[in-house]
Subunit: 298 residues, 4 copies
């Protein structure tokens, strides 16, 4: 298939290379010229304006967005409206909120333009060598795209999840589970670390990856991490997050689903970004008030 | 009543003064001579050996322990065994684990000695001016003590809770609830603090103490704390704990009771004592492994 | 002051009676004629159309909304726009989301109409006999209203919290704390209930209300509840919620504040509304898959 | 190696077959004669008394216990004391508490008997076809056993973890992580289930097992479970537990490690075993007390 690709960041770049390897024709666009030159060296065409991107594609156009979720997606969609014709298809491969995808699908559908929301998992190596893709949209719109998603994914690693929004919904929940799994693994290693036993964390992670109930890709990555830095002495335990765990919890709240583990995985990330807490100050002050327990002074 | 009082720390000292005010005769014992002299100035007798303490009391003896919970209680009980006679009564007014109290009751009962476990709440000011006492023991043993507990407590502030161990059990659960309430209040104030509004925390606490659903002594103490230090700038948010919250959670686990709020109140205290966490390091390392998200270096 | 009061439900009705007792002149409006007749018997004027309500008030008008939070508030505001003039003031005394209040304040300010958001705590008895009110708005708009809020509140039970939205924000956080406190108390009593001791819950609650650290109005209500039904045998443990706990958590997520206790208080409410859970089915199925642990069949 | 195997339940039986396949000589013992006959048919010797078991082994004896954790292990060890000689080795392959293992190791070491604590993961199929084994003990005692553990495990699936107790400690933490992972996965699927989209859970699980960040053996088992029962309609969501999650949390509490996700995974299991809760009754009663919110009657 002939695809216009918007956004050549670390995920987008790797996906384009992946597409090229599977004999798809890709025109890559980015505002960063260096990235455009890079993707040309990989065998793609490269352009630096959306107009040029659009002109370079056969009708009906298929455009793949791989840009940071949020208002930027709406901005780019609005810019593209100048070019898009009925029958064209826009794939949002980024981490957009599923409700935005439902809205954008409706907005574009009213203009005759197909919209597909595709969540992509597997990290950068997956983007390059075989991703996991989950995509939603109208059946007639996704029909010509099944093979593309299949090509860039590992075997059985692509799924048409249903109506528009369901692809990003699936990816959102995937990330919620990921938060919980990561926190579970991490808590376990902290229990090991505080114990009386002199564990070799890399060895334990490798062990658990071979035959245990908790073997998993995340445990393999844990093994890798400890191989590089046996006690993680070099890094700080500040756990940033990019939004999908929060969306999962907010969605669970809207749906009335009790998700304590996903909730706490997120809240502990927030806590990790604080050096001191107002909550702690209040509790320390209260203990001092009623029990005369000394507070620690700054 | 004529009472031998062992342990003149901040709680014990205040309780003795409280007993004296209610016309009880108290012989105070402590290894710290200064405290013994102090309590003598308050109108108690004072001794510095357990033998002297015991000799100074009429039969049957009533002894009140107010010492740090744990092995020290067993140590003192073993020392007292040299003196105690059948018919004597030992009150443990400290924060002992209820299972220790059940055990000690059985041990002393076999020797004809009465045992009463008394939990005491209300902080230091309560100990002095009217505490909240909850006590367990054999009915015939507690019978002569009801009035003593009533005297040192505020009106309706003493309760015979049932069999030995139930007094300390009641106090333990009281503290578990206290942990949850304190964390609830503190989280609320942190939401205020992070908001867009310039709240006056003392004013809000005072407001909430007058007519609101959450009016409580802990909120009054919150008001006091903010009056002294408007934003708690002077103190660190390190939340220590002295064991009863942990016991409540452990007991809940043994009983199969889901107590997520008490659990998290405790775990956030532990978290507050850590500057960085191994959990956080593992999660940060994993995010780097799969997503190329930068870790923060030490 | 002469006040037009919109909404004579259980909270509104009691507030009007409270206002009347403090010599304010109130015109009550409700679509339910029975409630209007009731409030007339209490000494208020009563009307059944917004137009009549508006006509009955001296300029500048002061209107107090006490209706269910949500779209209905916007609907009523839009209906009132036909009558309202610059200089009039609208008080929203319901449980509106603070962001709605910020928005409505801006919307009305552009039309010269004052807007005050007032959170009200204390339950129905408070509404009648002395509430706890926390209100935000522009200083010049709230200026003539301070005395009104003071009148209907207990002593020190009213507070001007700052800019528009801050009143409902304060009430929202108050409710978040309330969720946590209630869950704390409830968990504690479940630990008592599952223990080996035959506790008298009413007696324990009364005890804790007298001299203990956790004495509070909620504990007094706990005592009342056990007085009426010693083991709560008559009622189901289904914990409904009306939104403010959810808002507090959502706000905390937006502000990056870790509030695990408020979060879990809410999630356990959701859990209590489920008879069986899909989460549980998945875990049970997994235990069967790897360990051969029997699942319970429906 | 020549091994006496005590306990031919589902895990033990499979491990013996696994040992036999690797050319080890096994004498199987169980009080259930049927199981003994079964294992004889597999190529092991079989006995029905501990004396016969002991007599059948060459010196120094190696005995492998695979029996339910708890007091039964001490009982069997005490029975074996009648036969064991210095130089013999006892392997506890069950899910014993690591502190029991530390104690038993010390007890047996004082009698010249070697003790090895071995945690086994991988479920029944792992026991048969390649397990994951983590074992602790004195270096000279485990030296002759490394090859045995290697034989019955998958490649890289056995690890000598260090001093006595560390094997069971590692297995305990493994199970704590397992609890958290299972709850994470299950919460995610409940969010899918409550959503507006008609997901095919088996398809989603299969997708996530191919290329996604959360691919794992537990997700494969999830896929299997949904293949057998597409919506798990047939089973109840009651989540039993066999103790190791509780031990992990208790150990974390002792070590001062905040493990909120492991804690909540456990508490939600407890919650799933309750049809109604006292906690819920108290909260419902309180809402009725202050707000007049209707309670649901039984």
């Amino acid at each position: 298939m002939h695809i216009g690709f918007i956004g050549l960041g670390k995920m987008g770049y790797n996906l384009v290379v992946n597409l090229l390897r599977h004999k798809h024709t890709v025109v890559g666009y980015d505002i960063n010229e260096e990235l455009v030159n890079g993707i040309k060296a990989e065998g793609a065409e490269g352009v630096t304006t959306l107009e040029a991107l659009y002109e370079s594609l056969p009708e009906p156009r298929v455009l793949w967005l791989m840009i940071p979720a949020g208002p930027l997606v709406d901005t780019v969609i609005n810019q593209l409206l100048a070019f898009l014709h009925p029958g064209d298809t826009l794939i949002d491969g980024g981490n957009s909120h599923y409700q935005d995808s439902v809205r954008r699908h409706q907005f574009l559908k009213e203009r005759g333009i197909g919209y597909v929301d595709c969540g992509t998992s597997g990290g950068m190596s997956g983007a390059l060598n075989g991703a996991c893709t989950m995509y939603g949209g109208d059946p007639e719109v996704v029909e010509p795209l099944h093979q593309v998603f299949k090509d860039i994914s590992v075997e059985n690693g692509s799924l048409y999840t249903g109506p528009a929004g369901s692809g990003h919904f699936t990816k959102m929940v995937h990330n919620g589970i990921e938060y919980g799994m990561m926190q579970s693994i991490a808590e376990g290693f902290e229990v090991l670390e505080k114990s009386q036993f002199p564990f070799d964390y890399e060895a334990v992670a490798r062990l658990w990856n071979n035959g245990s109930v908790i073997r998993s890709w995340l445990m393999e990555l844990t093994e890798n991490a400890f191989r590089k830095d046996a006690k993680l002495d070099e890094i700080k335990g500040r756990m940033h997050s990019s939004g999908e765990g929060k969306w999962t919890l907010e969605t669970a709240l809207d749906l009335g689903v009790p998700t304590p583990v996903i909730a706490l995985s997120l809240l502990m990330r927030y806590r990790s970004l604080q050096d001191d807490t107002f909550t702690g100050k209040v509790v320390a002050a209260l203990r001092n008030e009623f029990g005369g327990h000394a507070v620690e002074k700054k």
